[in-house]
Every structure is written in C-alpha cells, then in structure tokens.
C-alpha cells in the first residue's frame, strides 16, 4: 500500500521534542474518514514509517491531526517538519474506541503521558453528545506540568466535565495534584454502568486496570490501546503479533476481556 503525500498545514510544539501536526492534501481533496483510536502510518522521507494515532477530531475539514514525540530517526524527522513540508501517509488503520457502547454510560478516561493523544478524539466526540451521555471523567497523569498536552483544551474541558490532572513531579508553581495517575483514581468510586478507556505506557495501564478491577469494573467494561512494533499496519509483516492478535488490525484498542489471558504474559 502506497503512502499518500500530504502537507504539513500547521505545527504546534506541545513541549520540547513533542509536536502536534495538522496534515492536509495539497489540492484540498478530502481525506478518508477515521474513527477515534485509529492510527495512520506516517512516512518521513527516507527515514522510515511510524504508526501515529489520530490526536484530534478537529479540525473537521478533513485534515488529520497527529501528536508525535521524538524517540527515533523517523519520529525525529517528523517532529522537525515545518508548515509546507511533505509527509507520506497511509491509513486510517485499526480498531478504535467503542464509541457506540458509550451511550448513556459513565465514561472513565485514564490517560498517561502521550496516551492522551489517542483519547482526545473520543473525548471530543463525546463532548458533542454530552447531553445524551452519562458523566465523563478524565484522569490524566504526566511527567511534569510542562509535559501536559493540549493545556488550553484541558482548561476548557475542566469546565464541562471532571478532569483530574496529576504529575509525577512539579515545582511550587504547580497547584494541581502530584502523584501517579492511579493515586487520583484510588479514592474515586465508579457507577456500575461505567466504561473505562485506558491509554498510556503499558506499565501504567497494567496498574490502572488493576485499580479498575479492584473497583469491581468488569473486564468487558475496560478498553485499552496497545503498542507493539507495527510496520505494515495490515497484519502481513508479523511484527506486532501479541498472542493471537495483530495489534495493528485487531487493535490497537482492545477490550480487556478479550486480551486478559495475554496481558500479563511477559515477552509475549
């Protein structure tokens, strides 16, 4: 499958090394629609290709939005792109968050670090229907205040629904919570019809899921977005296998019920 060349239309540095890019077709042609939780393969010229989740439903005019952190050669090249530069895009791929299952239920969203990026589209989608859905609560943990994503939007969200932000470390200027995201989760109680969406480093998800199970959330009400080495994104290169699943096409979003047998096996 061939990448499609798209242009960088807008670039925001979230914090040093992490940027959010808006991509669009040079000829303004509409782009294939995507669902919250799906991802694109982004190709940096000559450097390689990496899977990056859609990080916003907006702008609604058919542009794509991706938040990228510098980790290797390809992400390093992508984060250096400037408006007007080109990038190769394949997608959308994968299964996203179970939006249809959320109607009328309390939605608990637990995000860690860059894990907020794949969750932002689902938060935006739910906000559009806030009147028809139950409560939404966001628990968001980050390394330090300067590494919080989408700070303006977080401030807006906190006026509309419960947002609990916590950081691992902070100086005196930070007035919010300090501590692991699970520690702000611990005292909370969740109604029995809740559905939980978890995204962050695997270790953080492991402990968050443990906390949710302790609070009597059934495995079928817990969804998480997994990461493995994805190269082809179509289930043909074999790299992202995780037990019987291909993370690229069977995930990246999984229902915990379906993967609980594999989740705790090491080096799977």
């Amino acid at each position: 499958m061939m990448p499609r060349p798209l242009s960088v239309l807008h670039r925001v540095e979230e914090y040093p090394g992490t940027v959010t890019l808006q991509l669009g077709a040079a000829d303004n042609q509409p782009l294939p629609a995507f669902l919250p939780g799906q991802f694109n393969m982004l190709y940096a010229f000559g450097c390689g290709e990496v899977p990056i989740s859609f990080s916003s439903m907006a702008p609604a005019d058919g542009r794509y939005c991706h938040t990228i952190k510098t980790l290797g050669a390809a992400t390093g090249a992508l984060t250096k792109l400037r408006p007007g530069d080109s990038v190769g895009v394949r997608g959308p791929f994968g299964h996203g968050w179970p939006v249809a299952k959320m109607a009328g239920r309390d939605v608990i969203i637990i995000a860690g670090g860059l894990g907020l990026a794949p969750l932002r589209p689902v938060i935006q989608a739910l906000l559009n229907e806030l009147n028809t859905t139950g409560n939404m609560r966001l628990f968001y943990g980050a390394r330090q205040p300067s590494e919080l994503l989408y700070r303006d939007e977080l401030a807006q969200w906190s006026k509309l629904f419960a947002v609990q932000t916590t950081v691992d470390m902070a100086d005196a200027r930070w007035r919010g919570h300090i501590g692991n995201v699970n520690s702000v989760l611990t005292p909370s109680m969740f109604p029995s019809n809740s559905i939980a969406l978890v995204c962050g480093p695997e270790v953080m998800m492991r402990y968050a899921i443990g906390e949710l199970l302790k609070k009597q959330l059934p495995p079928e009400a817990i969804y998480l977005s997994m990461e493995r080495n994805m190269k082809c994104a179509t289930g043909h290169c074999g790299h992202c296998q995780w037990g019987p699943q291909f993370v690229c096409k069977d995930g990246p979003v999984f229902c915990y019920r379906d993967i609980q047998d594999w989740f705790h096996i090491r080096e799977l």
């Binding site: 952190k69 670090g113 794949p118 902070a170 997994m226 990461e227």
Partner: protein, 156 residues
Amino acid sequence: MALVGSLTQHPFFRGMTMADLQLIAACGARKSFAAGDYLGREGHSADHFYLILRGQVSIEIYFPERGALRLQTLSDGDIAGWSWLFPPYRWRFDLRAQTSVDTIALDGCRLRAECDRDPRLGYDLMQRFAAIMTDRLQATRLQLVDLYSHHAGAGS
C-alpha cells in the same frame, strides 16, 4: 452523631461496626485549615491523623536552599498521616494545606490507647492503614520509574 455519619460514608471505615465507629467518632473533631496551614510538620509530635473531606493537602519535604518540595498530594476522601501509629510518634514529612481544607481530625493518642485495650480494634485499624500505606507505596514506586519518558503513546 453527625461525625459518625461522616465516618460511615467514608470508604476507609467501610464494614466497621457501629460500636467501633462511635468509639472512633468520640476521638474525632471537625477541623478546617486555610491554604498554607500545616496539618503536620516534620519532627513535630504526630498526635492526629486526618480524614480529608474537601480540599488538597500536599506531602512536602523541606530543603534549606530550595524550600518545600511537594512529593505527593492528597485530596477529598484521602487519609493523611500514620505517624501517630508508630514510635517515636513524630511526623516524617510536612503536611500542608494547598487549598482551604476541611477534615475530621482524629486523636491518635486516644485511639492508640483504645487499640491497646482492644487488640481486635487495633488489628482492624492496622489492616486499614496497611492497605493505605500499600497503595501509597505503590503509587510512589510508579512515580519513581518515570513512566512517561520513553513512551510514544499507544498506536504510535
């Protein structure tokens, strides 16, 4: 009675007998703090622990050259303080209100005496505190591993 009601609703006391709750309530009093007030100070005697009803409290360590470094925060529904349980019954860290804070302050000296008199109550309370310490230790360990520095975000 209002105090017993508040205790009954708190998950920390879930499943306790009314007799025990009344005994504990008798050791308690509502206490509010203004932002900046200390609930406990490192080295000072730890006579109380607090049930935070509303507000945010930080656990801090004081550096001579930098001032207070906040390590963790506690808020609504959290229990603050277990130094009253163990000799030398002194606070190990500072505990300071970050906002105005409403609490139920429980008299640790009296409760300790009750626990000595009734080891069943002592064991029950110890179990409840051990669970909180375990949660707090786990959260601290997760803070230590610097989870987010190598993570790219799921699907990325």
